[in-house]
Symmetry: C2
Subunit: 431 residues, 2 copies
Amino acid sequence: MNVAAVLSIGTELTRGELVNTNASWLSEQLTLLGLDVRAHLTVDDDRGRVADALRQLSEQADVVVATGGLGPTTDDLTAEAAASALGVPLERDVASLDAIRRRYAERGRALSDAAAKMADLPAGAEALSNLVGTAPGFAVTLGRCRCFFLPGVPVEMKSMFREGVRRTIGSLGAAGTFQAHLRTFGLPESEVGARLADLEAAHPDVTFGYRASFPEVEVKLLVRGSESAEAARDRALALAGEARARLGEAVYGEREDSLAGVVGQGLRDARLTLALAESCTGGLVGEMLTSIPGSSDYVLLDAVTYANSAKTTVLGVSPEILRAHGAVSAETAIAMAEGARRLAGADLAVSITGIAGPGGGSDDKPVGTVWLALAREGGTVAARHHLAHDDRGRVRIHAAYLALEMVRRHALGLDPASGPCERTQRERREH
Amino acid sequence: MNVAAVLSIGTELTRGELVNTNASWLSEQLTLLGLDVRAHLTVDDDRGRVADALRQLSEQADVVVATGGLGPTTDDLTAEAAASALGVPLERDVASLDAIRRRYAERGRALSDAAAKMADLPAGAEALSNLVGTAPGFAVTLGRCRCFFLPGVPVEMKSMFREGVRRTIGSLGAAGTFQAHLRTFGLPESEVGARLADLEAAHPDVTFGYRASFPEVEVKLLVRGSESAEAARDRALALAGEARARLGEAVYGEREDSLAGVVGQGLRDARLTLALAESCTGGLVGEMLTSIPGSSDYVLLDAVTYANSAKTTVLGVSPEILRAHGAVSAETAIAMAEGARRLAGADLAVSITGIAGPGGGSDDKPVGTVWLALAREGGTVAARHHLAHDDRGRVRIHAAYLALEMVRRHALGLDPASGPCERTQRERREH
C-alpha cells in the first residue's frame, strides 16, 4: 500500500491559534482512497523549515499533501520553499496569473504585486485551479514522491482536493477500499464494541473503528486490499448489515446523518407536526430540529418554560401539580407535553424537565434527573432518566437526544418511553 | 528563546478519525510559557516510527511534549518507543502501579496484566501522576531535550500538563511572556485590523493576532522577551487598553468570556428578568443563555414560535398584523417581543423573526432578512438587518448574537437598536 503524509504550514498552527482540521480531513480522504497515512507534520512559516519538512516527508512517503502558505502576504513562503527543496527557480504561471487578475477584477480591484506573486510556482510545477478562492495550488514530484500544495482555507482546500487532486491520488491508492459508517445512540461505547466483538474477530483484515462523539457512538468499518472498489464496497456494506443486526434500534443512521435530521425526515414522511416544551434543555431540542432547512413545516412551537410561572401561564401546568410533585416530575412532564400539544394544535408534543446542574439537586432528585414525556392522540408516556454526567452541558445534550429519540421511536412504532439500553432509565409512566 | 515541539501519537489521528485538538491546546500553552513552538508531528501507533519521531524532534527542540499511546491496549507503545530511543529497558514503577491498582479497586475491578503494563516506564524516567484517569505519564531527557509524555485523552492531558508539567516547562521558557485577549462582536475582521493598524505599527515586537470565530473576532496581543513576567503583563494589558479605546463598544469581553455569559451576568447584576420570542433562530438564543449555570434566575421563558399560528396563540400576535405585514416585519417582531414580555411578566423581552434560508426569500425580503425587537418598560425598539451569508446556520448564529447584543446594549445604557457597525443594519423602528 502506498504511503501518504500530510504537511501543514503556518505559524498560526504551531502557536496553537487554530485547530488543524485540515490534517484530519485530508487523512480521512487519503485513507478512503486506499493510502496508508503514516504522519502529519506541521511547521511554522519559515522557508528553510518548510523545505526541510518537504525533503524529509518526500523520503518517507509516496504522496504528500501540503496546505497553507500560498497567499499574497510576506509570510506565505510555500512556493519558494518547494522550489528550494526541488532545486529549481520560481516561474510565473501565465494561466494562474490570468485567473488571479480575473478574480481581482470581479471585485473591482487592480492586480497588486503581492497578488501577482501567488502565480509564481516552482519551475515545472503543475498548477491547480482554485475555484472558490484566489491562490492557485500546484503539484510537483520530489524524488519519487508526488507532492500537492493546497490553500490553508478549509473551503478552498477541500474544493481543490475534490476537483484537482482526488482523481490523481486515487490512482496511486489501493483501489479496493471502502468504509461503511453507522451512527448509533443509546448504547455505551463498551456495549457497542462488545456486540460487534465476534464480527471483529471473524474479520481481522477489516478495521473496526469506534468513536464516541457524545452522546453518539459512531462505528466505521474500513475494508482495504479488496480486488476492486466494488468488491470492497460489497464487503463493507454486507458487514455493516451484520453490525446493524447486532446493534438493532440503536442504529439511527449512516455517514453524515444527524438524529435531528432523521427525526425531521420521519415527521415529514408521516405528515406529523410537533410541539416541544423544554425546561432544562433550554431550547436545545428546538435548536437541533430547526437547524434543518424546511423544519418550519413540522415544528410548530417550542415553549422553553424555564420558570415555573411560565410553565403555568404558557403551558397551563397547574400550580397544584408543581407544588405537589415539583417541576421535575412525571406529572409536570406530562402536563407540559399535553399543554404544548394543545396550545400548538400539534400531532405530537415532547417535554423535557430536569436538573442540569451544577446546583439544584437533592438526595431525592440528584443532578442529572430528567423526566421526558411524549403526548399523542390516545395518551401520553413519560420516562425518568438519571444522566450521571459531571457537566451541565452533557446533561443537556444527552437529555435533548433522549427527547429526539422519543419522537424517532414513536415514528418507528416502538415504545417511546423505553430504549436500547436500560442503564440510564429508571421509571416509566403513562397518562 | 527555547524551542518546543509537540508529538501526537495514534493511528486514529493519522487516519483522520479524530481532530487533533491536543496539539493546538499544548502549542498555545507552550507559547504562553515563552517557548517557540516550531513543529507538530503526528505519527501512527508504530514503535519504530514513534522512536524515530522522538529522536528527530529531540535534535531540533529543547522541549518535546508528546501525547497518546500510554493506555493498556496492545497498540499503546509510547513507553516502549521512548525506551528504545533512549537505549534503556522498561522498568515497572512501583508508585504508578499502586496508583493504577487503587483506581481499579475504586471501580471494583482487579488489576489485569494489561493494566499493570501502564506502570512500565523507561528506566530512569520521572513518573507523572494522572489525577483524573488511570495511565501515568512520564518525563525523560533525550540528548539535551526534556521530553514529557502525557495521555491522549484531552481532560487527562490538560490536568497532567497543569499539575505536573507546566511549572517545569515554565522555567525553560522566556519569563517575560504575556498574552492579552479581547473578544469583539459587531465589526468585521478587516475593520478590527484597520482600527488597530497604528498600534500594530508602533509595536513591531508585539504579535497582533486576529481570529474570526464566526460571528466574533478575537484579538490577541502577545508580548514576548520582556525582562519579567510582570513587565510583560503590564505591557500587554496597557496595549489591550489602547486597543479597547479604538474598538469601543465592540469589545464585549476577554479570554474565556462568552457573549451569552456577559449578557447573563449583566441581567443578574441589574436584577432584570428576560423573556425571548424566537422564530428563525429556533431556540438558539435561549440555548446560549441557558447553557450558563444559574440562568433560570433570569431567563423566564423562550417562546419559539415557528408557525404563524403559534405566534398568534402563544404570543398574541394578531392575525391582521401577520396578514398585513408578514411574519418577518417590524410589526410582527414588536408584537412578539411585547407578547413574550406580557406572558412571562419579564422586565425585558427580545424577539427575532427572519428568513434563515435556503428557501423562503423574496425580492422584497431576501434570505438573511431579520427583524429583532426589544420590549422594555416605556417602549419597544426594533431593527432590521440583512445578514448576507450563504448558509442557514450562519444566518441563525449571527441573528442570535444580534439578539444578545440588544440586551447587552440595553444594560449598558446604549441604544439597543444600533451597533458599532452599520454595515448589516438597514432600518430602525420604535413602538
